[in-house]
Amino acid sequence: MSKKETTTWDYAPAPESTKIVQLKEKYDLYINGKFVKPSSGKYFKTINPANEKVLASIAQANEKDVDIAVKAAHKAYTSVWSKMTGAERGKYIFRIARMMQERSRELAVAESLDSGKTIREARDIDIPLACNHFFYYAGWADKLDEAFPGRKPKSLGVAGQIIPWNFPMLMAAWKIAPALATGNTVVIKPAETTSLTMMILAEIIHESGLPAGVVNIVAGYGDTGAAIVNHPDVNKIAFTGSTGVGKLIQKSLAGTEKKLTLELGGKSANIIFDDAPLDQAVEGIVNGIFFNQGHVCCAGSRLFVQESVADKVIDKLKFRMESLIVGDPIDKNTDIGAINSKEQYDTIQKYLKIGKDEGCDIYQSPCKLPKNGYFMPPTLFTDVAQSNRIVQEEIFGPVLTIQTFRTIDEVIQKANNSPYGLAAGVWTDKGSRIFNLTTQLRAGIVWANTYNKFDPASPFGGYKESGFGREGGMHGLEGYLKFDK
């Protein structure tokens, strides 16, 4: 036998070309079918979190701009969009879907540059899914009566929509597509750190010939969002973001007629039983918590492993983590990209400190990190309990807490013992156990032997502090409709 010889074989850099994205220096608001300057004249900078370089400046909308946008949306609703047949509306939505598809490479690159997510995920997941949401809801536009037989569905009016920074384009699609399909008009605000793809979407919408005022795009910070929420002519608010802001929104809407759907935070349980396909479960753990740098509301951030296989699973997981490549998001081989912003990076670091101070064991995979930008290695905490803050609070980063359990009742109790209830994962070879758990876990989504799978036809939403209302699927139409009594 010849002696052991270790070769290093590193993948050569394989950056996706960014030439396809022709960034403008400045992007304006998109109101009433026109690109307009903000009334304050203010622009804010959007940066690439992978190298902290400025990508472009984005117009910042204030209360006055929001007012103009809502009025335009209202006018478009009453004069054009609510009078149009579903079939005609559907054609516009299909057209937007096709145009997005045609520019999908450009959208993927822009998304990766602006958000820090890997080009692989932007290219293979975010953008195709976003297109599919438009395609899917285009199909519903002329079938609303069939979706709700005998209930006479009617549109609401102006939908004010506020979306987060973790899946900018995808969340835009989740919001805009069902609103348009159901006959509502839209005023939407992207997150301040990730407005870039929304600006490209504005161009697409403009070129699609969608009637003026049907979709209005106002970028900005929290005050812009508040202006949308509090505007008297808005009939519906759809918000995806933090539970804290969700609570504020619900408070401001109390006593108004505005319809509300909230998709908020989570601290979802990923449960591995001893009879599970363990190696695939390990992939599911990785995909559950390290997908999109852990910036996923439904991330499987609380891992529960049956005690009899816990050591094995943790060993396998650590071994697997060594092969994860953290680095330049635009490189096609990168598995984990940049943390979205300095602010979020600091939040995650704060939680790492809390975890260590609480006496939990930390493990970080030994990977090389780029010098600039906000990067961190995938992280595990073992020796944790329900009482630890890192187990209770949403970290929104690539940080996993691992607990063991003995019995099925124990794990159900612990999984449900959280103010959140967005998602859960169950890994077992036993079909009956899967169905038992899906009925007992108080989570809006339960995945069996997989994790973080999304489809436009499947409803998504939470229990408890993870929000209410469903997005996606036929259920997703309901949040944008009212029904005759």
Partner: protein, 305 residues
Amino acid sequence: MTKKSNSIYDVLAQSPSVDKVGVEERTTRFQTRSIKNEAKWQGLNMVLNMIDLTTLEGKDTPGKVRQMCYKAHHLHDSLEGLPSVAAVCVYPSMVKLAKDELKGTDVKVASVSTAFPSGQAPHSVKIDDTKFAVDSGADEIDMVISRGKFLAGDYQFVFDEIASIKEACGKARLKVILETGELSTLDNVRKASDLAIHAGADFIKTSTGKIQPAATMPVTYTMLQAIRDHYLATGKMVGMKPAGGVSNSKLALYYLVMVKETLGEDWLNNTYFRFGASSLANDVLMQMVKAKTGHYSSADYFSID
């Protein structure tokens, strides 16, 4: 069959189940890796150096084997600095000849045995077959398991057989062919891998090449996981050989990606990883010539031996 403690039955009871959907998702992901420039060049060199150049036909003659042996260390002499392949793989009757032909090179001679490819022969015949090959100078023995016994649940028989062949191998390294195309499920592939490893396999190998499907990425991945688990539990490294079905360089590079990301770089050498293939080498050579000269040459520029 009575159950004894620490018997092979206890070992196999610990084999995890395998979820085909999850496996396919992962193996598809390996194929999204972008292998370019120097990584590609290095990868192609590794692939060449991991090949077991194979001829296993009823019509094999000394002439054919002699020509293949020459090719094994003269892959494409117009391109300088190429490695030789890892080994040639032949029937026992050709071992002595191959050994003589390869004297002075570092190309190993591997011999199939145990009534390859079906394995349907008495135990004594399989032992004799193996000993003959070893006595003729084989450095490596590629045995087949008794798939019928395995599928009938007689794991003890399969275990004992592998262990006795291992003993008959002496210093020769033992590759155990599971013939995964006949095992039907990934659960079985995993069980058979664990069984072979515990019985003393130095390498586990997918296929004889006589049954379709031969090596696939999901099957190879499942076997690599068995090797990884054995390594995590014992610190011992077992080798892997996919055979049949890997016929182009792009796919071969994805196999290396799979090995690197499942087992680590310690396995990226021909002590621990082999490709059983006859047509792969020329496709790799074609890519290497393209990398050097910037254009593809036709297949006629690469020797067929």
